[in-house]
Symmetry: C2
Subunit: 199 residues, 2 copies
Amino acid sequence: MAKQSGTKEVTKTALLEAGCRIMREKGYSNTGIQEVLDSTGVPKGSFYYYFDSKEDFAIQIIDHFDKTYSEQLRVYLEDKSLKPLERLKAYCEEGRKNLVQNNCSKGCLVGNLSQEMSDQSEVLRARLEEVLTRWRNRFAQCIKEAQQEGSVDKTQDNVELAEFFQSGWHGAIMRAKTTKTAVPVDAFMKIMFEQVLVP
Amino acid sequence: MAKQSGTKEVTKTALLEAGCRIMREKGYSNTGIQEVLDSTGVPKGSFYYYFDSKEDFAIQIIDHFDKTYSEQLRVYLEDKSLKPLERLKAYCEEGRKNLVQNNCSKGCLVGNLSQEMSDQSEVLRARLEEVLTRWRNRFAQCIKEAQQEGSVDKTQDNVELAEFFQSGWHGAIMRAKTTKTAVPVDAFMKIMFEQVLVP
């Protein structure tokens, strides 16, 4: 019984990881359940044992991605060995490195789905909004710490700065996917850290 | 003969406008040719008289949209009755107004397709890149004029500022679609005009 439920967990995780990889690259509408099944070797009949629908599958993919990504955010943004703005920069540099390693393709699963699905599925929109707002609040906390130590102007609204940071970052990644260069991300990082997040 | 070719032009324009409207809202993959035909009353057989493929249809939709949008950009960014930064602000305010009128849905056709299709179709990516770079250069020219009159720091690279402006704007619109509020666009405009585009 324990073994069986362990196997089920492994199968479900394999479907979520394949779905995450394919949906990140191809988007929601363009991802076929059959392609996900083929890439994992799971028989078709099993899919609806794990997921109610394609929409439910996407929700669970977002949650699965969020779990890993939130932990990465925590590692970067709560690294007390670095000053707050150094942590934000390290986060951007890691994102830039991944982008270049992927030849400026793929981008962020949550950003991609936000753009594609916010008007198509209220269920997906609400979940994406919840996840992005939680991530934004992590950036806001890091910016608040930068304000407390005097490296960012205290009179500014840290949540507003975080909103600007997050949406600008997603916009720069989107544009990098289209130019197939890191130039937009470099412009973002330069101006953000030299002109926006300053005392 | 002239009448017939005029009718063909009208039909083609109707298909492009319906395609533009539907693709802007639903994305490329999720737009069915049948839906476009149904909304225009054009028989199915005619579609391939006008367009080689769905991809070719999308390319022509982008060109059709670009023609109108480039003219709007010209009107806003070359309005000599306003100072250069006032023109950029007027552009953003018009964009914000349209966004709110659409209940923070839809966004920008070119931004949406960039996010969705840059990794899926090299033909579409190249066209989107060409269009976005041309638009960015218009912003860069307006920022250069602001530098010449002393309202933006002359030592900064105007193309880099324009890249930051454009990708940040698209990022803010994307996030507005997900939050269903204009808050991200307001944060963008405030910080852009109070901290980035300054002497």
